[in-house]
Structure formats: structure tokens, C-alpha cells
């Protein structure tokens, strides 16, 4: 009897641990990006999965639609790349500041998250060719004393943790003046509440945030300008080459421009 109980306990432990690991691989599948309904129902293309990591609180690059699917420019570009490569796209929505660690560690294959190319990041991952340009802008409340970058000294700045806005502001103004939020939405909520004096974030999400909250404005002068690219682990040069080739084709046939144009209307 005792032995039986021991075996049972052991079996339960194994099941429990197995369950935990099974939970880790839980992912959300990407929505079909084409209007063609058959694309979603068609059996996954014979081939491997392309696991993309992103932080879906960065409209219009990535955000969740009413069904909870991750959509946006990056999701559509990734889908187009996966289609070209004959792979099935799987999107994982995670915290922005753990994306690069995850891709370097191999738990995801590629990061498309409005990710800026920087020298520091190049030390740990490879970047694909750039597919979009980003600008770090400053969001303030209308009538704020902050009129330009020069006025930021001594002010409380809200940022999304781990973004280039966070890195630059912390370098320029010190940790004590920079408040980190898990995503841009919370940073903007803090600005609306007067908990921070301004928010430094990428231009396109900034436009969305300002449109959604009355009384906010984007300053004319930008903080910095930068390039967006996808990141892939250093060892995975095979995927890098394939993605770059696919991206070149998509750029040449105008697919990427069309996707970006769909979300960002030119002024």
C-alpha cells in the first residue's frame, strides 16, 4: 500500500511538472492578415513554425483587436514573411523588456515590436534590414510648460520600460527623473492623471494615444529619429538570410508599403 502511494505521488509530481512546462509553450496564433477567409481555415503550410515575439500595446505596430488577436503593421509584415517562407506564424505577446532576452535565448525566433536598431542591441542579436522609420516624440498635456527637449531637465518623464525612449531618457536625465511603465498605455494614463509631466515614446503609438485622450499634444520637436528592424538570435543566421530575402521581395513588390499605408495615413 505504502509503495503504491509513493508511486502515485511520484506520478502526480511528474504530471504537475509536465503541466507547468506545457503551459510555457502556450501561444496565441496569429490572425490571417489577408481578407481571403480560406487562408485562415487552410491547413497550416507544411513547414515549421515562425514564433514571433512582440508587446501588443504599441499601436499601430502591434495591438490587440476586439477578438484579442495581435494585429498591426508588425503582425502583418511577419505574416507576409512567414507566407513567403512557407512557415506558420505564431505570435507571443510578452513584456517589451524581455523580448530581446527571449530571442537571444531561443524561446522565440524573431522579434518584431517596433524595435529600434542600436549598437548595444547589435551586441546580443542580429537585426534584419530595416522596414520602417521611427521617431521618439514627447507627449505633454496641452498648455504644459514643456515646449521642447530642452525643457525636460528636472521634469518627471514617463516611458515604456526597456524602449529606446527609456534608455535615452535614463542616460540623459537619470533614473530618479524617469518613471518606467510596463507599456505605453499605462505611461499615458499616468500623464493624463498628472503623475508624470510628459511621456517619451515612438511617434506612431503617440499619435494613437493622443487621438484617444483629449487634452494631450505631441511636441513639434522630436527626441530622436531611428530605424525599426526585426531581431533574430546571433546563431540563427540561416533564418536571418531567409527573412532578409523575403523582406527584400516584399519591399520590391510594394507589400510592406501597402501594409504600413493601411495603418498610417500620410499627412
Amino acid at each position: 500500500m505504502k509503495a503504491f502511494v509513493k508511486v502515485l505521488a511520484l506520478a502526480l509530481c511528474v504530471a504537475l511538472i509536465g503541466g507547468v512546462f506545457a503551459g510555457c509553450t502556450n501561444t496565441t496564433t496569429a490572425p490571417s492578415t489577408t481578407d481571403d477567409a480560406t487562408a485562415t481555415t487552410a491547413a497550416p503550410v507544411a513547414g515549421e513554425e515562425l514564433v514571433m515575439g512582440t508587446n501588443a500595446a504599441f499601436p499601430p505596430y502591434e495591438f490587440t483587436d476586439d477578438q484579442g488577436n495581435v494585429v498591426g503593421i508588425d503582425a502583418e509584415i511577419a505574416q507576409a514573411i512567414a507566407d513567403k517562407l512557407g512557415m506558420t506564424l505564431v505570435i507571443k505577446d510578452m513584456e517589451f523588456d524581455s523580448l530581446l532576452t527571449a530571442v537571444a535565448g531561443g524561446s522565440i525566433d524573431i522579434v518584431l515590436a517596433g524595435l529600434t536598431v542600436t549598437e548595444e542591441r547589435k551586441q546580443s542579436v542580429n537585426f534584419t534590414d530595416t522596414y520602417a522609420k521611427g521617431v521618439q516624440v514627447i507627449i505633454v498635456k496641452e498648455g504644459s510648460a514643456i515646449k521642447s527637449v530642452d525643457d525636460l531637465e528636472g521634469k518627471t518623464i514617463g516611458v515604456q520600460a526597456g524602449t529606446t525612449g527609456d534608455i535615452y531618457c535614463t542616460d540623459d536625465f537619470g533614473q530618479e527623473n524617469v518613471k518606467q511603465f510596463a507599456n505605453g498605455t499605462l505611461a499615458v494614463a499616468a500623464l493624463v492623471n498628472d503623475q508624470v509631466d510628459c511621456v517619451v515614446i515612438d511617434n506612431e503609438p503617440a499619435k494613437n494615444f493622443v487621438a484617444a485622450n483629449a487634452g494631450l499634444a505631441i511636441l513639434e520637436t522630436a527626441y530622436t529619429e531611428e530605424d525599426y528592424a526585426a531581431a533574430i538570435a546571433k546563431e540563427n543566421t540561416e533564418l536571418l538570410d531567409k527573412v532578409n530575402a523575403a523582406m527584400a521581395e516584399l519591399k520590391a513588390d510594394g507589400t510592406i508599403d501597402a501594409i504600413i499605408g493601411k495603418y498610417i495615413t500620410a499627412e
Binding site: D97, A104, A161, K179
Partner: protein, 259 residues
């Protein structure tokens, strides 16, 4: 530059390190990058300070709040044959609502509501106060039930005897019931303290840089997760072991009168 490459690091190290095996060199490089480069150990220390302040503050608030709620709840329940006085019934109802709401919602949600809806803190001090209040209120609900189990474990005959000897209700509580109850609740209270300490890692959602957030910041500068996160775990483990040891000392001291 936020970053020092392995090659850059190798140039500046003494010769004996070059003789070490690769994995050890790599580990030392990551350690250097995590703690020493740009004095990053200061980030850990600053984060640890926030974690400590929030834990101690919330612990004190939780114990006081929990004890008050527990006393109200037990004294209300001690009326068996007749109805408790009206005021007590009101307080008891408030306590019950408090317990239901706080225990029924996640810590994270409570922090988000306090941080962005109710308290809306602006300065660093206000944020720390907000974190202490939120965690203290949360912890108080759990401490209340722990304390109630302790108060109820003391035989009713004891307070009856004390009351018949002429002690007031509060003197009975203070000199007879609570000293015995504390001994019974210490192990469970220790559990709650440990949980509270670990819950402080959630305060980063209201933009507080506790030790967990600082470790994440280092990872997002170096993109090397191993040393920062293992060190972070070791830091928490060390604090918990210290707490456990202090509690065991207290338990031993309180048991002296048993013999």
C-alpha cells in the same frame, strides 16, 4: 555606451583570468557586466532599499490593521446567546466587506487601481506610500484571518476567568488572550510575511524601481539574463532565510514561559 563586449572586458583583466576555462571567464564577464560595470551594484542596492521600505511598512500596517479587524470579528462572534451591540455589528459588517473585497481581488489589480484611480501618486515618496498602503491593506486582510484563528484558539474559559476577576475587556485581551494567541499565530504569520516580501516585486506596475525592476533594467541593458536573475533570486532567498531565522528566535523566546 551601456555595454562592454567580452573582448573589451578581456583586455582589461589581469593575466591569471586568461588562464581560466572559458565558461568561468564567461561567468566572470557576466558578473562584471551585471554588478561592477557602471557601478550597477548601486542599482541593486537602490532597488533593495525600495523593497525593504515597502516590505517593512506594509508589514507593520498589515499587522496593525489585521489585529484590529480580528479583534472586532472575534468579539462580534463571541456573542452567542444574545445579539452583539449595534455599533459592533456595523464594524463587523465593514470588516467582512473589507475581507471579501481584498481577498477576492488580485494584488496586481489592487495596485493598478490604487496607482491609477484612487491615490494617483506623483512624487517618488507618494508612490512609495501608495505601495505601502496597498500592500498593507492587502496583507491586513490575510493577517486578520490568521489572527482570528489565533484568538479563537484560546479557550473561552480563560477570558471568562479574567473578566470575573474584574479585568476589563481590553485588559483581558491585552494581558491574557493576545499573548497566548501570538504564539499560536507566529508560524502562519511568518508565511504571510514571506508572501508579502515576494509580492513587493509587483510594485513596478506603479513605476517603482524595486529590486526586481532593477534586475530587469540590467537585463535590458546587457541582454544577459543569467547572472542578474539568479542573483535576484538569491537576494530574495537570503532575505526570506533571515526573516525565518528571526521568527524562529522569537518563537523560541516566547516558548520559554511554557516550562
Amino acid at each position: 555606451m551601456n555595454f562592454v563586449t567580452f573582448e573589451m572586458w578581456l583586455e582589461g583583466v589581469p593575466d591569471w583570468i586568461l588562464a581560466l576555462p572559458d565558461w568561468l571567464q564567461n561567468f566572470m564577464y557576466q558578473f562584471y557586466q551585471t554588478f561592477i560595470f557602471e557601478q550597477r551594484y548601486m542599482l541593486f542596492l537602490n532597488g533593495l532599499k525600495i523593497t525593504a521600505i515597502v516590505t517593512v511598512g506594509a508589514l507593520a500596517m498589515g499587522i496593525v490593521l489585521g489585529l484590529i479587524v480580528a479583534i472586532i470579528r472575534t468579539s462580534n462572534d463571541s456573542f452567542v446567546s444574545r445579539k452583539p451591540p449595534f455599533i459592533l455589528r456595523i464594524f463587523n459588517a465593514i470588516c467582512k466587506i473589507y475581507l471579501t473585497v481584498i481577498r477576492g481581488t488580485p494584488m496586481m489589480v489592487q495596485l493598478l487601481i490604487m496607482g491609477f484611480v484612487i491615490m494617483v501618486p506623483k512624487t517618488e515618496t507618494e508612490i512609495i506610500v501608495c505601495a505601502i498602503v496597498t500592500l498593507g491593506i492587502n496583507s491586513g486582510a490575510y493577517v486578520a484571518e490568521i489572527a482570528r484563528s489565533g484568538l479563537m484558539s484560546i479557550d473561552a474559559g480563560q477570558s471568562e476567568a479574567a473578566r470575573s476577576l474584574g479585568l476589563s475587556y481590553f485588559k483581558t485581551m491585552w494581558y491574557v488572550v493576545i499573548p497566548q494567541a501570538i504564539k499560536n499565530i507566529l508560524p502562519a504569520l511568518g508565511n504571510e510575511m514571506i508572501t508579502l516580501l515576494k509580492d513587493t516585486s509587483l510594485v513596478s506596475v506603479i513605476a517603482l524601481r524595486d529590486v526586481t525592476k532593477q534586475a530587469q533594467n540590467i537585463v535590458s541593458k546587457t541582454y544577459q539574463a543569467y547572472v542578474p536573475y539568479i542573483s535576484l533570486a538569491a537576494i530574495y532567498l537570503a532575505i526570506v532565510m533571515l526573516l525565518t531565522w528571526l521568527l524562529s528566535l522569537l518563537e523560541r523566546r516566547l516558548r520559554k514561559s511554557d516550562r
